[in-house]
């Protein structure tokens, strides 16, 4: 089963972007984390006053240039939709059976237990995440 979890936001600088999302009522909900394997640094932010606003994952390249370059060059901010999966291998398999292509197979992650990236036929990037036992 997949349940919506967050939207991924590409940033050149998380600190700078956070100022703008703060205007909308967002504040950091996690510490900044670093994922060397993915070449990114990230932080989740949540809306302070409502649970109906989606959680956002601010991301920046770890080493100047990196996996977010294409989004940053095109001015794309929100670039992936993430779903929490109770069986990430099976859900990835099901999406692939419906035409999605695996960009990054299921692997252990830093913030989540496991992650996997797929692209739907409409070119929407999807991240599947397996939550840790503490909910993250």
């Amino acid at each position: 089963m997949m349940i919506f979890h967050h939207l991924g936001v590409a940033t050149a600088s998380m600190a700078e972007e956070l100022q703008f999302y703060a205007m909308l009522g967002y504040t950091p909900s996690t510490p900044i984390f670093t994922d060397e394997a993915q070449g990114i640094r990230g932080q989740f932010i949540c809306h302070t006053h409502t649970t109906s606003a989606p959680m956002l994952e601010l991301l920046e390249n770890l080493h100047g240039s990196g996996p977010l370059d294409a989004c940053l060059q095109k001015g794309v901010k929100i670039y992936h939709m993430a779903y929490a999966s109770t069986d990430i291998e099976e859900d990835a398999k099901n999406l692939a059976a419906q035409g999605a292509k695996v960009i990054q197979p299921v692997r252990a992650a830093v913030f989540f237990a496991k992650v996997c990236f797929l692209m739907l036929r409409n070119r929407q990037l999807i991240e599947l995440v397996a939550l840790r036992s503490d909910g993250e």
């Binding site: 996996p67 370059d69 294409a70 692939a96 292509k101 695996v102 960009i103 990054q104 692209m119 036929r121 070119r123 990037l125």
Partner: protein, 80 residues
């Protein structure tokens, strides 16, 4: 094969945003706009254009214009 090569070069031009000729020998990784997402976009665009479907295991091997052209021709021949 010539028509397929020309159609492939058009697909690559659109996806990568650069001019590509059917006679080029493009190595995808050498393109500034190439990354793992762009690679999948190339594969999807090719599948849709030529009515074929790559096995997941074959996708990482499609690293150049020449390799992709060869694979398309082989898959289309197998469909006949």
């Amino acid at each position: 094969m010539t028509d397929v090569a020309a159609e492939l070069s058009t697909v690559l031009s659109v996806v990568l945003g650069v001019s590509v000729s059917k006679d080029d020998e493009m190595i995808f990784r050498e393109q500034p706009s190439w990354d793992s997402m762009k690679h999948i976009e190339i594969i999807m665009a090719v599948e849709e254009k030529f009515g074929i479907s790559f096995d997941a295991e074959a996708i990482p091997r499609m690293t150049s214009q020449a390799v992709l052209l060869q694979a398309i021709c082989e898959m289309r021949a197998a469909q006949k």
